[in-house]
Symmetry: C2
Subunit: 138 residues, 2 copies
């Protein structure tokens, strides 16, 4: 059954990993897992890799060409009555200004202590979500 | 570090759930979790929902407009040294002929006993994978 936007957002926010889908001007979808934080109606994640990394470039190149993105969280269980997923669809913007990055980086470090051992991010992508959707089997 | 195509394929095949990204002519990426089987270099999944379901329609509409799709499996762990993901990029085709559906449906039922209690699928989508890619943290 469909989840309300509020329930979809709450389930999404409670997860540790989401999958980001982007599609560039060529229309080819690209998928990668991301750690993330929800701040209001925005989903933010950091680009930890150096810009020379092909993976990071593809993600950022696609967003530059087409900022419409989608994030998915889900729960698999062998009892299919317990399946659910939650999705955030929105428009992404790359934050390169350290002042703009400060709050999402702080929230990421609070959610993921693992970030304390990581170098500062190369960039932060913030996505303004226009639709929270979700489904649960029962 | 990058995974070889063989290792990416093997890790992908060992998972129970993947995320499917499609993008229609409008370039909007769409994400949904799917159960799946790997058969040679193809990834197949079934559309269980009735065609009137909006979700199923969006997935099939996008594939009809733009058959290039991507699937992702991943493993999250609080020990980030254990993170990995594996991705299959390819071109999808909707199988509606029961003869064409027979093998993937049989493989899906063997992998997922849960399908025994489900009605026959509305359609099966088979994706010929042109690239297996993956990454593991260590």
């Amino acid at each position: 059954m469909r989840l309300s936007p509020e329930e979809a957002r709450a389930r999404f926010e409670g997860e540790r990993i989401a999958r980001l889908a982007t599609a560039g001007a060529d229309g080819v979808p690209h998928l990668v897992p991301v750690t993330f934080v929800v701040e209001g109606d925005s989903v933010a994640f950091a680009i930890d890799h150096k810009p020379k990394s092909t993976t990071a470039l593809r993600r950022l190149k696609n967003i530059a060409e087409n900022p419409v993105v989608s994030f998915l969280t889900d729960r698999y269980d062998e009892d299919w009555a317990r399946l659910w997923w939650a999705r955030a669809d929105g428009v992404a913007r790359v934050l390169t200004d350290p002042d703009e990055q400060a709050l999402p980086v702080q929230l990421l470090r609070e959610k993921y202590p693992q970030y304390e051992a990581q170098p500062p991010p190369h960039a932060v992508v913030s996505t303004l979500v226009h639709a929270w959707r979700g489904w649960r089997a029962s």
